[in-house]
Symmetry: C2
């Protein structure tokens, strides 16, 4: 059965590429108010395609851009998979750097170039082709609910409300997301862990107006001096974060996990060269991969105080502020870390200034057990799709929708992506290698069959 499906995918490639091109031609730039009509058109077009594939599909309104919600006829007793993707894209600017226009999909050297090629239209379309192939061979073997949103690139502001309002329709055993990369070309990956986030802003205020540094300097508190002194306390000399209780809940890496990551084909010299850095740094006792995937951090993301123009201005600013974010790992709790950070900053500020600490947003760290059945099935599907064993990795960033799905729908997400790290996501000349697209569709089709055995 699956072999027929895979055979269909192989023989319908030219039509699949034409379909994907149609999808990519629609400039569904969610951040641009002038493109709201294109975003709506893209949702309508996608829903129509899914209907033509034999699914029921609706374009549902949100407080912002609409959601496409589709499903096959669910059969009681079968596992239900929530397939998440997004049909909106980033702006294409700077336009002059594109070798072919961003919304005229063009094939060069075995890849398709367009805005959204891999993020995320191309990966969504790999699934659509897999679903269509199954429909031609007796139907999709699992219950599929497909949620394709139009606001991922602008922070998914209305997705939480949408999920709450459609909790019943979205009920599933597991979510499946293809919006990540392979580990390296030809080495498919399952992302089983994500870091969380606590993003804070610290503002220190002294006098109620800016002061002349000649007339007042030396006799008044300088918020910029104090901000630097306080922020400098946030790390110790071994690169560890110096906030009481910060590491209390950190799940240690197992020896097996460390050994598995040590065997990955991670090219540290190339990594350094890409950043123009001669040496890396970080917490003592951990490798670069471990520092990025499994250790918590504290990084200043912005500093603002006083005069920032060219030349000199002799001012003692009234205020100094910093954006500081902490990447969190299992089992750190964003709320607990925010409180510990706030307490530490307040305690370390002198009494003669006022300090304000605000939390911008948080995200829970994510970890899916490596020995869970779904992870094993996804690995088997990737082996079929890409002809190479999958590796098990984490990512250092957060994927907010994974936290949302966990929090609102109560299920884990399988992160099985088909992209490459050089696909220039969000940049000019975004691409998706055709082989990645084909192998992605094969993986998706295989995975549906494997997940049929989930319960």
């Amino acid at each position: 059965m699956i072999s027929n499906v895979l055979n269909t995918l192989d023989t319908t490639r030219p039509q699949a590429i034409e379909n994907l091109k149609s999808f990519l031609r629609i400039p569904s730039i969610s951040t641009d108010p002038d493109r709201a009509g294109d975003v709506q058109h893209c949702a309508d077009w996608l829903a129509q395609q899914l209907v033509e594939s034999g699914l029921s599909a609706q374009v549902l309104p949100t407080g912002g851009h609409p959601v496409v919600l589709a499903r096959n006829a669910h059969v009681p007793g079968r596992p239900t998979v929530l397939l998440y993707g997004h049909y909106d894209v980033q702006p294409a600017e700077p336009l002059e750097q594109w070798l072919s226009p961003a919304f005229e999909p063009t094939i060069r050297s075995g890849a398709i170039y367009a805005r959204g090629a891999v993020d995320d239209k191309g990966q969504v379309w790999a699934h659509v082709e897999a679903l269509r192939a199954w429909q031609r061979h007796g139907g999709i073997p699992i219950n599929i609910t497909m949620l394709v949103e139009g606001e991922e690139e602008i922070g998914s502001a209305h997705l939480a409300d949408f999920m709450r309002d459609h909790r019943g329709a979205l009920a599933a055993d597991i979510a499946l997301i293809s919006d990540t990369d392979q580990f390296a070309r030809g080495v498919p990956a399952i992302v089983y862990g994500l870091r969380g986030l606590a993003y804070m802003e610290v503002t220190i205020t002294a006098a109620d107006h800016d002061l002349h540094s000649g007339l007042y300097g030396g006799a008044v508190p300088n918020p910029a001096n104090i901000l630097c002194e306080v922020l400098a306390t946030l790390h110790d000399e071994n690169g560890r974060v110096n906030i009481p209780g910060f590491y209390e809940d950190v799940a240690p890496l197992t020896d097996a996990e460390r050994a598995m990551w040590a065997s990955l084909p991670f090219d540290e010299p190339a990594f350094k060269q890409e950043l123009a850095l001669e040496t890396l740094c970080g917490e003592e006792g951990f490798s670069t991969v471990e520092r990025r995937w499994a250790r918590p951090t504290c990084d200043i993301n912005g500093l603002t105080s006083g005069y920032q123009g060219p030349g000199a201005k002799t001012v003692i600013a009234s205020k100094a502020s910093a954006k500081v974010s902490m990447r969190l790992v299992p089992n750190q709790d964003p709320a607990k870390i925010e409180a510990a950070f706030t307490r530490a900053i307040r305690e370390r500020c002198p009494a003669n200034v006022t300090v304000e600490v605000v939390s911008h947003h948080g995200a829970e760290p994510v970890l899916i057990p490596l020995d869970s059945p779904a992870v094993k099935l996804a690995a088997e599907a990737l082996q079929v799709g890409f002809g190479h064993p999958a590796v098990f990795i984490r990512e250092g960033g957060s994927i907010p929708v994974v936290s949302l799905i966990r929090r609102i729908l109560g299920i884990d997400s399988l992160l099985v992506g088909f992209g490459l790290t050089d696909d220039r996501v969000h940049a000019p000349n975004e691409k998706f290698d055709l082989n990645c697209f084909y192998n992605g569709a094969r993986t998706a089709a295989t995975l549906y069959a494997k997940l049929a055995g989930l319960k």
Copy 2:
């Protein structure tokens, strides 16, 4: 003789005010290109007034706005005094906050309100009235060279060249400047010391582009973290500047000077209230006045890195930079301090980032010996003019022209100003109390007579 002069000043007050109003009506805003004609007109008008006072006067071009240069007939053997002032003014914005229009001088509650009322047209005009009164009573008893520039409010960019080109014409025994304040209402002051300046900019660069804090955080150097850590080392726990050699050349305060300042009517509660600060701070072992006037500092004047807009952006910036200025006191050398600062910053930065340290500008600290004859004579003149003994103070800022005069013409400056600290210099509703103006003119007239005995 002097009594006749003072009598004339007293009886010609109404005409003096009319003259000052004419001066103040000219909107000689040096920073505004649209006002260049008014600036030129102001110089021409002032030169004409000086000619009518019996001086020879010229309007001389510079690379920017012109200088008014005037003199009486110099008599060999008499001391020569270089009288410095400026006829340009700050912009008047925000216009809507003026109770009467900025360039329609208006008298209310015993003060004249206009842009430039005290800074510096009113103080220049007090001297012009004193010179005129002497001309009616046998002539000015000293050799006067008057230099009134039109670019003080925009940094006196062409003054150094002008002084070099006219070194001969500007030769004098001492300079006299009225562009400062009394210590308090009715308590006239001689400013005998100024702090110098070394203004630096530090830029730290790590990777050659901004990085996502999730994907890279924890494994790469963060320039903003490092900048804060390095800047935090610039003070020790006693508020002293922690740069090797920084205090090496600092002239200690004498007991006599400390006792003199301790007896000044400095209102520390009012000072704190003005700044909305509950407590002050600074170097251990020194009073607020001492910290502001006679101790060197190191203050961050600007911080810039990464994301500065509202909300959150998870970025590790490629660069972080700070403007840092040090106020210097006698006998610190700006060049030596700049070098020590640069060395300290470089040594304290880790090897995995690049650091750039740039010097923006420096100014020498100034100290006129309290026991110098000119200072004593100025004190006597202020006692006559204001009916109250003068106090001897320093200022925490730099007055660049004082350094220029010292460096190019080789002479000290007497800083004898008539303003009040609440005159709202550079702000809406700038004013000059009429009594300050009258007493200033009396002081000037008296001082000319006293300086006649200088050698």
